[in-house]
């Protein structure tokens, strides 16, 4: 019997599901090329859901529902709230981009987005290995569909195929690892698995065997080296609006399941997964930054930049446990990782927004050379892009600096010389990273424009993009609120 509390735990998801179906049906009657009615209804739904999540998050209650299958806590609710907003922003940027590319012939762009968001919600609030897996599949299946939305476009179709094959393999990894865990502990419930491992009665080899597959699956989804091969191809191949849908909000969900699986479920195995995360982080920082230098395509460059940024997030997750002691370091480390991923998504939204705004019908503005002299054509958008790039490079006073600072601080706070070495390595890598971000700024500001034409964009895109860019700077000047939010959310999750 489903009790009332269960519904309270999951009512935003229910609203989302119902509205996704309603919108899919209503869309059948929409005939305008920009699908304004569908768009408006979608935005309204998402705004309501975002408000619901924020309201739940502010309540700061941890409730479990459906026989412990799902959990509603502050971390999850904030991440869901931000994911919803990220999807809304993506749609604002994406609609004028998608329309001339024949992607709004049906309402799939909107309905699939809502379904992918629902997938993220399920991932974030899943408290059971299978529920998490189900959410992940819902998300990735919707994403496969969206990447292939331009079905007569060769590159996009190829990207969709690659994404699907590799994504399916990653899901297989994850599922295999989960079944190992189930075999070893006899439960799929995250808390029960934790208790079983902590009791020390479970064979360690089997656990580690399963853990390797789970970490590999997570690394695939996050895009950490050496499981990163799909990221550049999908980022480059997918239509930019979809790239943002795949590379933006889902990162928040991927972070959430990392926390649920590794921290809430398998913290007693921290010594094992820490080493794996360390290798992944070092590889991501190294390959991501070095490969980004060689790129001539902005989307591909940002893809490699994503890989390197994920390296930083993993360093944050990794530094939560020092010598088996999680009490004094965990909250600090995980909240830095959470702050990092939220600000990263915020910055990514604005940078891809600029790429979309520069694209016109029949012209994709995605080569670095296409950005030449942007400052002369539109100082505003050049400014937004510059702020984002400086933020990604970690230059103060942009918000990206505080994200890097928080992660470095949690590494150095451990007092371990190995971690100190990792911090210095990360710093050296961000110096390399600064080079390619600066190169794009150079192209925008120092080079002569190839065309004198200005940049035109609809009012809603302009307003949201300016607000988004300004937020990167404003959060850089006043980062305190968001940091406190991440801190209290993580502390609540850890129960300290």
């Amino acid at each position: 019997m489903i009790d009332k509390l269960s519904w309270i735990t999951a009512y935003p998801e229910v609203v989302l599901l119902v509205m996704a179906c309603v919108i899919a049906i209503i869309d059948l009657g929409v005939k305008t090329p920009l699908r304004t009615a569908t768009y408006a209804l979608t935005m309204l739904t998402l705004a309501v859901v975002a408000w619901m999540q924020a309201d739940l998050a502010l309540g700061a209650q941890t409730t479990y529902g459906f026989e412990n299958m799902v959990v509603s806590d502050a971390m999850g609710n904030w991440l869901k709230c931000f994911a919803t907003i990220a999807v809304m922003v993506t749609m604002v940027y994406g609609r004028p981009y998608a329309a001339p590319r024949d992607m709004l012939r049906g309402g799939e762009f909107f309905t699939l987005s809502i379904f992918s968001l629902l997938g993220m919600f399920v991932m974030i609030s899943g408290n059971n290995f299978l529920v998490i897996y189900m959410g992940l599949e819902l998300l990735t299946l919707s994403c496969y569909g969206m990447v292939a939305l331009r079905r007569d476009h060769v590159v996009a179709t190829e990207a969709a195929m690659k994404y699907f094959v590799l994504g399916a393999m990653a899901s297989g990894f994850l599922l295999y690892g989960m079944s190992m865990m189930y075999g070893a502990t006899g439960s799929l419930d995250v808390n029960a698995v934790f208790k079983a491992i902590a009791s020390g009665k479970v064979i360690h080899q089997v656990l580690v065997f399963g853990l390797v597959f789970i970490v590999a699956g997570l690394a695939f989804k996050l895009g950490a080296v050496p499981f990163h091969m799909w990221i550049p191809d999908v980022y480059q191949g997918a239509p930019t609006a979809v790239t943002l849908m795949v590379g933006g909000a889902p990162k928040l969900a991927a972070f959430a399941i990392t926390m649920r699986l590794l921290v809430e479920g398998m913290l007693p195995l921290a010594l094992d997964w820490q080493q794996m995360l360390m290798v992944l982080a070092v590889g991501s920082l190294l390959i991501g930054n070095l490969a980004a230098i060689a790129q001539t395509n902005v989307k591909r460059m940002l893809a490699f930049s994503t890989i390197s940024q994920i390296g930083f997030v993993l360093l944050g997750v990794m530094s939560g446990v020092v010598n088996g002691n999680a009490l004094s370091f965990a909250a600090n480390a995980y909240s830095s990782a959470m702050f990092y991923i939220i600000t990263y998504v915020l910055t990514t939204l604005a940078s891809f927004g600029v790429i979309m705004i520069l694209s016109r019908e029949g012209f994709e503005s995605e080569e670095i050379a296409d950005f030449a002299g942007l400052n002369a054509r539109s100082p505003l958008y050049a400014g937004v892009m510059a702020v984002c790039l400086l933020s990604l490079a970690g230059i103060p006073p942009m918000v990206g600096f505080y994200a890097k600072l928080a992660v470095l601080q949690s590494l150095i706070a451990s007092g371990e010389s190995l971690y100190l070495g990792l911090a210095i390595f990360a710093v050296a890598m961000s110096l390399i990273g600064a080079f390619y971000y600066l190169r794009l700024i150079k192209v925008m500001y120092f080079d002569e424009p190839i065309t004198a034409s200005g940049v035109v964009a609809p009012l809603d895109v302009r307003v949201v993009l300016c607000a988004n860019g300004a937020l990167v700077l404003i959060l850089g000047i006043l980062p305190s609120g968001l940091m406190a939010l991440c801190g209290s959310a993580i502390r609540q999750m850890l129960g300290t």
Partner: protein, 491 residues
């Protein structure tokens, strides 16, 4: 809002307004607005001096608000005798540079003016910050406007210069960031400078910290052998950029030594003083010789800046009140003189579009008023008594002789090199018969350029003749600093 906040945020606010509403179609309005902003920003720094209490070493005009609770970072501002003059100097140089760039800049005028206004606000922030992270944020943020200034309005090889400037200085400051976080952890979660000053540290920790700070500040000063970015950047930067870079930005590094390296790691500073003195002397003597053979006027002045900044670091690391005060005075005077030197070169460059010494000769015949100013600034650059350049160098040499005769001797010999390269350049550019058609066609400086030159000349002369107001405010603070540095922090 306190005076210091006003001094920081007023130019930044004007800069942001210019970015938002300035367009090249109404460039003149943009210029006047920028001038109003610069004047207002300079005026708000004047009360700082007027109400300054020189009898105490404590921080004054202190503002402290919680900024980032998570890291216990506060928006903590204050000035003492060491930093006071740099706030005024920054605002003054900014004003001068904005007047000097009036007609020269024709493209993206609003961005140019905004970059300088924002840059000056950020640099004042560096001098006022009493919180390690706040300092770092201002310190790093200055790179962004300078990068754009060099890259957008610079010379033919501007892109190379802009990248070299940014990445070189970023490399140094990232190591400082690690040091700051380490100090934060060691001090039990505080970024407060006063807490760090009092924090006991082991010898090896101090050495590591000293070199992490060294990486950031030595690159910025710049000290030999990490000075190689400066000549390249100066040559390519627009005149205003060079002036601000030499006059203020280099001082950020030297100031960092006084605020961070010396008081936080005093034992390491004493231990490595010989090393620092050696580097400083190499800068003074060797780089002085390098300056002599330059064919490019800007490069020559850039190398001369490195040599002059060598005096500053030399003064700091002999740990005497004469040396440290002399170093600070030298920083201020070099701020006036180097800005004047670069702006003089700018006057010629705007007319002839060449920085080569060989393209000139006999300028005095066609530009007598300008040549008089140029001679005066050249004299100040070689440290003629009665000009600003003399005071600081004299104090440092005196301090150095007391510390060790031969060090003083080597430093004093640099005065000869300084005179040699500056006067030889002056002779080749200004004296003799008119060398070519370009020089023949030169017109003397207009009222605006005269104003720029006169403002700087008055400052240089005043400081040379009556340096008391400059040294008076810093005496107590310097004594306090030296007292602090003399006490070992080893635990």
């Amino acid at each position: 809002m306190g005076l210091l906040s006003l001094a920081i945020w007023m130019p930044i606010a004007f800069g942001v307004l210019l970015l938002a509403w300035g367009r090249d179609e109404h460039a003149n309005a943009v210029r006047w607005f920028a001038l109003v902003g610069a004047i207002a920003s300079f005026l708000v720094t004047l009360p700082l001096y007027a109400h300054f209490d020189a009898s105490t070493a404590a921080m004054q005009y202190v503002e402290k608000n919680s900024w980032i609770e998570r890291f216990n970072v506060s928006y903590h501002l204050g000035v003492d005798g060491i930093s006071l003059w740099f706030v005024l100097l920054t605002a003054f140089i900014n004003l001068v540079v904005i007047i000097a760039s009036w007609e020269v800049i024709k493209r993206n005028v609003n961005q140019y003016m905004a970059a300088f206004l924002i840059l000056s606000g950020l640099m004042i922030g560096v001098f006022c910050a009493l919180d390690g992270l706040l300092f770092y944020v201002f310190f790093e943020a200055t790179l962004i406007p300078m990068y754009l200034i060099i890259g957008i309005w610079g010379g033919p090889n501007k892109i190379y210069a802009a990248f070299k400037f940014f990445l070189y200085t970023l490399l140094g400051s990232l190591l400082m960031l690690v040091a700051l976080i380490y100090l934060y952890t060691r001090s039990g979660g505080s970024f407060d400078l006063a807490t760090w000053h009092a924090l006991p540290l082991s010898g090896s920790a101090q050495t590591l910290l000293f070199f992490a700070f060294f990486a950031a500040f030595a690159v910025k000063v710049p000290m030999w052998p990490v000075h190689t970015w400066l000549p390249d950047v100066h040559v390519e930067a627009p005149t205003g950029g060079s002036a601000v870079l030499a006059a203020i930005m280099l001082k950020l590094g030297a100031y960092g030594f006084l605020r961070f390296s010396l008081p936080i790691a005093p034992d390491a500073a004493h231990e490595w003083a010989g090393f620092m003195i050696a580097l400083s002397l190499i800068a003074v003597v060797y780089v002085g010789l390098v300056a002599m053979v330059q064919q490019d006027m800007k490069k020559l002045v850039a190398y001369s800046s490195v040599a002059h900044m060598g005096f500053v670091t030399l003064g700091f690391f002999i740990f005497s009140s004469l040396g440290v005060s002399g170093g600070i005075v030298q920083m201020i005077s070099h701020g006036f003189v180097s800005a004047a030197m670069f702006l003089s070169i700018g006057v010629l460059y705007d007319r002839v579009h060449s920085r080569e010494i060989a393209s000139y000769g006999g300028v005095v015949n066609t530009m007598p008023k300008f040549a008089a100013f140029a001679l005066f600034f050249a004299m100040a650059n070689c440290g003629l008594p009665g000009t600003a350049g003399f005071v600081g160098e004299w104090m440092v040499i005196l301090g150095a002789v007391k510390f060790n005769f031969w060090i003083g001797f080597a430093a004093a010999s640099a005065l000869i090199f300084g005179a040699a390269y500056t006067l030889w350049m002056f002779k080749r550019v200004y004296l003799g018969p008119v060398a070519n058609g370009h020089v023949k066609a030169l017109v003397d400086i207009n009222a605006r350029e005269f104003l720029v030159m006169a403002l700087l000349a008055v400052a240089v002369l005043y400081m040379g003749v009556y340096p008391k107001p400059f040294t008076d405010v810093m005496d107590v603070s310097v004594a306090q600093l030296l007292k602090h540095v003399a006490i070992s922090k080893l635990n």
